[in-house]
């Protein structure tokens, strides 16, 4: 029996989160989805639809009012203590704004090495530094940056540092909350390609959040569309893009110029950067 294939890496079950406020907004309303090993799920919806709140519930930053988050079958919304910490480690997060998600008073070496230090993955300073250099290489940055502070980097570089920091604890899944939305258009594609490469190289699963369908198009084999706290449509990329069932998805598709899939494939093949199209079922 191969349970690894049966049990999804991440499962969100009927998540509900209401913010106590004047309006009492139900930011997340009965949201369920699964991400299997090696899979990339795109979570798409307009601003305010509850994507970040969902991500924060999954990452353990928020406690959902009801519903469960299961990591490899273990319910982390109920768990506590050391076991929880070990399980939580398997899911890491990359935030939207790399200008605020990196502690401005820590060097790149400290930022990337922190996870290895606090989890005792690499307690030795020198070896931790070596591993940090490797991680920086993985995200396309040189070791000359080790002792610099975040303020000396561009947005794209900062996001690479943030990715290296998340990768340092060896996660199985990366939650990416609009990781390119605050970057210059010119570097968005580079960072998106990096995520594609990481999937390929490390067999990383992704929960990739975006506010338009174009961004997730070449990265995610499966797409969930959120509107007003609910997942209104969920399915394979081809199905969602070519024959959307929900009017909201159709509106989203009309709002942004999603490149012609055939042309996109041809371009991707030429560049050789996108390996995972149509392989949403692939297993590690």
């Amino acid at each position: 029996m191969n349970t690894a294939e049966e049990t999804p890496l991440l499962e969100a079950r009927n998540l509900v989160k209401t913010f106590s406020g004047r309006s009492g907004t139900r930011a997340v309303n009965d949201v369920s989805f699964t991400v299997r090993r090696g899979e990339a799920l795109g979570l798409v919806g307009e601003s305010g639809s509850g994507k970040s709140t969902t991500a924060r519930c999954v990452a353990g930053l928020l406690h959902p009012d009801s519903g469960q988050v299961l990591i490899a079958g273990q319910d982390v919304t109920r768990a506590r203590g050391r076991a929880l910490r070990a399980t939580r480690r398997r899911i890491q997060m990359v935030f939207q704004d790399p200008y605020s998600s990196l502690n401005p008073r820590m060097t790149v070496a400290d930022l990337v090495g922190e996870g290895m230090y606090v989890h005792g993955i690499e307690p030795d300073r020198v070896r931790r530094r070596d591993r940090t250099v490797e991680l920086l290489e993985t995200v396309g940055m040189g070791s000359e940056h080790l002792d610099r502070y975040p303020r000396s980097f561009s947005g794209g570089q900062r996001q690479r540092i943030a990715i290296a920091r998340a990768l340092a604890v060896g996660p199985d899944l990366l939650i990416c909350d609009e990781p390119v939305a605050s970057l210059d258009v010119s570097v968005q594609a580079q960072v998106l390609n990096l995520f594609g490469d990481l999937r390929e190289k490390l067999g990383l699963s992704l929960l990739f959040i975006a506010h338009d369908l174009a961004v997730v198009h070449h990265l995610c084999g499966r797409v969930a569309v959120m509107n007003s706290g609910r997942v209104v449509e969920q399915g394979d990329r081809e199905q969602v893009y070519t024959s959307p069932r929900h009017p909201y998805t159709r509106a989203l598709l009309d709002a942004v110029p999603v490149p012609d899939p055939a042309a996109e494939r041809a371009r991707a093949a030429g560049r050789g950067a996108v390996h995972t199209q149509n392989h949403h079922e692939e297993k590690r």
Partner: protein
Amino acid sequence: MSTTTPVPTRSAGLRNLLTRKGGNKQGHTTFVDRAALGVAGLMVLLALVGPYLAPMDPYAVDLAKSLTPPGSEHWMGTDANGRDILSRVLAGGRTTILATVAVIAVATVIGTLIGTAAALGGRIVDEILMRICDVGLSLPAIVVALGLAAAMGPSLQSAVIALAATWWPGYARLVRTLVRETRDAEFVESARVLGVSRTRLVLRHVLPNSLSALYVQTTLDVSAVMLVISGLSFVGVGAQVPASEWGAMIAASRDTAITAWWTVLFPGLAIALTAIAFNLVGDWLRVRTDPTLRTGGR
């Protein structure tokens, strides 16, 4: 909630007045900043070595020389008891400045502990600590000092204790506000997702990124605390009369101020100069650490 204090910008006008350029928004170090840093540095130095620099014994009474005007022998003149004022100003700097530093240091430590606990300890802890702060803030330093003077006898120590006891709630509120802001920053969430322990989260991520405004405030407060200490000495509940504390010196010269101006002018100048210098340094720090000016690399 009424318990949030905006980051005070008490002396924003002073620097503008002095630089004439109307706000040094780039955070460049101007001549005035250098001068202020110099004077403040000098005063701190004075606190350390002042008594050794005094040309004469600051306590040596010589009634024959009572109220000698400034001249070649006594550069700042002598007081009613014939004591050399220059020597007393140099020696008094230590008392005044060390007392000020003691007040600020104690208030900063208590304020940071209480403010951080209030910001991170949950609703009930927050409510209790903030009510205690309210009580502390509602007590004027002078009243507490008078009370302590009555209970412990008037002394510089009781003035320092009274001042520290009434000064920390302001810092606690400021720290609470600052930490609440930082607490929700994305880099703190990033550390939480990474699995960083609570202690490390506070010490490594939250506090270092919260306290720069507190340091600015404490520097700006040096002048205020110094004035209150001198004031308390002046009204008789701080340093006691023979002591060469600047405020006490002025107090002791009350009766001679009109006939012998030098007896109050020089200690007064010392107080004013130090107060202005620390105020300007605080301002300079504020501009330099203003987060809106530190976007570096963007």
